[in-house]
Amino acid sequence: MTDGWVIKNLRAIKGRAYPRVIGAIREPSWVFFEVVLPLFTVAAFAYVYQFMDAREELIGYVVLGGAMTAFWLNVLWSMAAQFYWEKETGNLQLYMIAPTSRMSILAGMALGGMLSTTVNAASTLVIGAFIFNIAFDVVDPLMLIAIFLATMVALYGMGMMFASLYMLFGREAHHLSNLLTDPVYLASGFYFPVKFLGAAVAAGASVIPITLGLDALRQLFFTAGAEDAFLSLEAELALLVGLCALFMVLAHYSLRYMEYLGKATGRLTLRWQ
């Protein structure tokens, strides 16, 4: 690995992030969609808890979970499924012949999409907390940062691995992304503590980094979060770090393998299959 290789890949990251950032600036209508729209689902779920006289933390969990959906949707639609759309629009072969790592291209997508995703998540958290009078009680900010970063790296690593699968997918890529929204919201406990699904389901769902990330964030944001926790903070951080390494390695090899498979079967540039 030379300096030239590093610079080249950093430029690839910047290059792929650029159209997303510029596109977002040129077409600012997304701000409305990203800020206002996610609030509706969050508000509906919060009102369900309010109507049933649920304890306050549960409403807080809904707001936090609603904010985190932005990252999951970004990984799913703007990263994993993106390779499929790139194939459809004829860009994929350009990425393949570029002398850079495929992971740099995907990292560029992630970074470029981070602007709108962060606006979405932060606004949901802030406005949701304001509307429903949620009190966040952060006692360990360093741990909060560590958990959030580990969740993001593991999550986007998972997204890169998915991208390799989507690269060979046909039209069902759209169905697959849809299939990974609501079922994952359910299994990962986006709107309720995951431990209520039972230890076996929660353990299984922990393969998805956001399950552990959310469980840990609930503990860090709410004093009652520890009672609803599936695992301790330290265990969740350790597992998330493990998932970071696992998904990065898996993404590297699966991207290479799927690229080879795509070339061998002639499907890499096959459009509208």
Partner: protein
């Protein structure tokens, strides 16, 4: 002759829609997607409910919430579907311009493509409701269903949602890749304001006033009255309080309100669609791609 042409367009567009939705996907994936997704969305609410109540599903509110969540699929899928058709044809398959120059009415094409989405959604709604009745004790009995009210409100409600979807489809011509957010937003307004998963009486007073204007509020209520009359009667007078906020309104009033709303939305959607179509042609946005 023109009517026959439109009907042929609707039929062929519906066939194309079916091919795109189902036949081009792996059958197992499509079947899983059609069943697992709607049931998962509803199970989120079921778990939320169970966490608070400790698992007691023998409650009128549980049935209210479950049925509302299942029926909401129509709103989300049909509104999403219409705008997605335009987005998908324009951005992904880049075939919108070909459809445009074909000697057919674009309106008829969209209606045909939407029809198949309604059919697929109906399968999801029926599966979800059957799962609720059989596995969770949702209070629907085929003997107690008011079939006439169910048919009437289904026809009027679907028409209303479809014409609203067409108006949103028109707006999609003018927006970039974020256009799919428009329908999610409108569907989201209905989700919160129309008593889908909680009665409108849970909302602040000012929001309840808005709820009572939205046709979806009345559609949801009439569908529930038709499907689960006993549970709705119970919610209409819990300790002398009207929990739903609509129990004093007659079925006839609701039907008339839905019919008028559909007519108004139809005129509105035609106007919006025509305007957006004109602007899109002038600004060269018919074959616009923004998949950055």
């Amino acid at each position: 002759m023109a009517v026959m042409n439109d009907l042929r367009t609707i039929k062929n567009a519906a066939w194309l829609g079916w091919e795109m939705e189902a036949n081009w996907a792996d059958p197992f994936l499509f079947a899983t997607y059609s069943i697992v997704k709607p049931i998962s969305a509803t199970l989120i609410l079921v778990f939320m409910y169970m966490i608070v109540t400790g698992g007691n599903t023998d409650n009128a509110y549980f049935s209210y919430m479950y049925v509302g969540s299942a029926l909401y699929m129509y709103i989300a899928e049909v509104l999403f579907g219409v705008t997605w058709i335009i987005h998908d044809d324009r951005e992904h398959y880049m075939s919108l311009k070909q459809v445009y120059i074909a000697p057919i009415k674009f309106y008829a094409y969209i209606l045909g493509r939407s029809a198949i989405k309604i059919a697929i959604t109906t399968a999801g709604v029926i599966i979800t409701l059957a799962f609720g009745v059989l596995a969770l004790g949702v209070d629907i009995s085929l003997w107690d269903v008011d079939w006439l009210l169910l048919l009437g409100s289904t026809a009027l409600g679907m028409s209303c949602i479809c014409v609203l979807g067409l108006a949103l489809g028109g707006i999609t011509f003018l927006t970039a890749r974020h256009s799919i957010g428009i329908n999610e937003g409108v569907a989201g307004v209905f989700y919160v304001m129309s008593g889908i998963i909680f009665p409108i009486t849970a909302l602040p007073t000012w929001a309840q006033s808005i709820s009572k204007i939205l046709p979806v509020t009345y559609w949801m209520d009439s569908m529930r009255r038709a499907l689960m009359p006993d549970a709705m009667a119970e919610l209409g007078s819990v300790a002398g309080v009207d929990v739903t906020g609509l129990s004093g309104i007659s079925d006839l009033y609701i039907m008339v309100y839905l019919a008028i709303s559909t007519a108004v939305f139809f005129a509105l959607s035609m106007a919006v669609f025509k305007y957006a179509d004109g602007v899109a042609r002038r600004k060269g946005k018919i074959d616009w791609t923004s998949t950055y």
